[in-house]
Symmetry: C2
Subunit: 307 residues, 2 copies
């Protein structure tokens, strides 16, 4: 069973409420909480040994990451996070010092983004250390940007550099919140997602929700130095890592070609590089236009649970 | 480190937002989402081997329980649940049949209470089966009932029968949602909580938040047949089990003596028994008025994690 096919099964079977604007299958769900206000909600679970390794990082890093991932999900809708609740399962015999360090990491980033931790659940068990963050956001009069709005002819843009996040960025990344909100406020973004599973896998989420295909330009993919570094160890190409690694937490979006030009030239995203890496086309596949001229279909792969 | 002292530490350190009406330390947090609408949020994590045992129950039971616990938290504020997000960690090699049975349990109860599952996170890892539910609720013009409103002179009421939930009720309980909302709509409830940690432990949460003490009447505690049954195995008294076991998911509340009479005589709660089990007094302790006449201090105990 694949994770995504199981989610599709849940999605089809789920009974719907009238106040739910957007249910399962996007970065956040969106609920109508009053005539003119939307509430966004997103949840993420991280488990030691799977999403991080306490032998290779500090518990403070984990606290920071757990919050940052959720902020990134709300940023990918172009909206503002507000509060979070956190469930934690500590392994038996966890010390108070460990628990406090976790919260130091949580507060470091929650305070920066003015997010209040309003509740949670703390348990202990014969289990690896596990943390679940549910975060709420608000629309502030903006329309939450879905995955489903990509149109044939759109340009595909991505922020930052991709690949090799495992070498450090997966813990230290700054969620693209300012950028996500600025893009939503100032431009018409057709579809947006944050890159957690990997560029091609997350692009594929947009394509499936929108019923379109894509062509990527090999020479425009912003390959990070970390992808190059990692490629030496793995024997894969740097491009492979940029396309597949995931956990970049960059924003991937589709916009009209005219808006794409404006975004790139606006300087609104400050130091954050924006690359035009491809275009939306008819069909359902992801193809790559290689520098040598050939266009070949590539298989979207990236991290999928329940494989 | 105790769970509750750690939560107290978090609560004191936490920076506050102006739109948060009620933060850490109650059954739910309450957020102001528009000028006249409140959003409630609660989160609960359940881990195999700690909160349930898949050798003794079905995964369908677990799905049902995870949702029912969260409904109970919102019922304890006298408000209406709306949507939930669910994170699940499946152990490696989980079958699709197992995952589908889990969702059967989830939907059995979610559909009954018109709760839509709007999102979630599904992961797999080298970890026991673990599920986290975050549920939202709405005020519908009612005031969420806090733990902190108990007043000296109040009567202490509890729904249903207590103790021995481990023999079955901890899985099959019906959350007191109809009752919680009816109580909030029709009466002035000063403080309310649902019994998850145990009668004395949860009463103590009300006392600590309200800055008051309590006297319980030994002969008025509604001891369940399950508590009697369990006492044969354990050697403890049935009363001990009714006071300490927890996971009854009944509603414990304090109201004026006049309101208490009205609630008991109103018949509004239908088949659900309501017992007047004590009164709120000055001080901070829980004392028991024994049938033989003596009044003695009892130690609030019940389930606490991180012991």
């Amino acid at each position: 069973m694949g994770e995504f096919s199981f989610i599709e099964w849940i999605r089809k079977r789920q009974k719907r409420r009238r106040d739910v604007v957007l249910g399962i299958g996007d970065d956040c769900a969106v609920i109508n909480v009053s005539s003119d206000r939307l509430c966004l909600i997103t949840t993420d679970m991280l488990v030691d040994g799977t999403h991080f390794d306490l032998k290779k990082c500090t518990v403070q890093d984990v606290g920071r990451k757990a919050i940052a991932c959720s902020i990134s999900d709300i940023a990918a809708m172009g909206c503002q996070p507000t509060v979070a609740v956190i469930s934690i399962c500590f392994p038996d015999h966890t010390t108070e010092a460990f628990a406090r360090k976790l919260y130091k990491g949580i507060w470091d980033i929650a305070d920066t983004y003015h997010i209040e931790i309003v509740g949670g659940d703390i348990i202990s068990g014969r289990s690896p250390f596990c943390i679940n963050v549910t975060m709420l956001g608000r629309d502030d009069g903006l329309k939450p940007i879905r995955r489903s709005g990509a149109r044939v002819g759109d340009a595909i843009l991505v922020t930052g550099m991709l690949g090799g996040a495992i070498l450090g960025k997966h813990l230290s990344f700054e969620p693209r919140l300012k950028e996500g909100v600025a893009l939503n406020k100032n431009f018409s973004i057709h579809a947006m997602i944050d890159i957690s599973d990997g560029l091609t896998a997350d692009l594929n989420h947009i394509l499936e929700e929108s019923g379109v295909g894509a062509v990527l330009y090999e020479d425009q993919i912003p390959v990070s130095p970390a992808a190059v570094e990692l490629s030496v160890e793995t024997g894969h190409t740097p491009l492979y890592h940029a396309l597949s690694d995931g956990e970049d937490y960059e924003l991937l979006m589709t916009v009209s070609p005219a808006q794409a030009k404006k975004i790139v030239s606006s300087g609104l995203l400050g130091d954050v590089k924006v690359s035009c890496i491809g275009e939306i086309v008819r069909g359902r596949s992801v193809r790559m236009k290689f520098s040598a001229g050939a266009i070949r279909r590539i298989k979207p792969h990236g991290y999928e649970h329940l494989q």
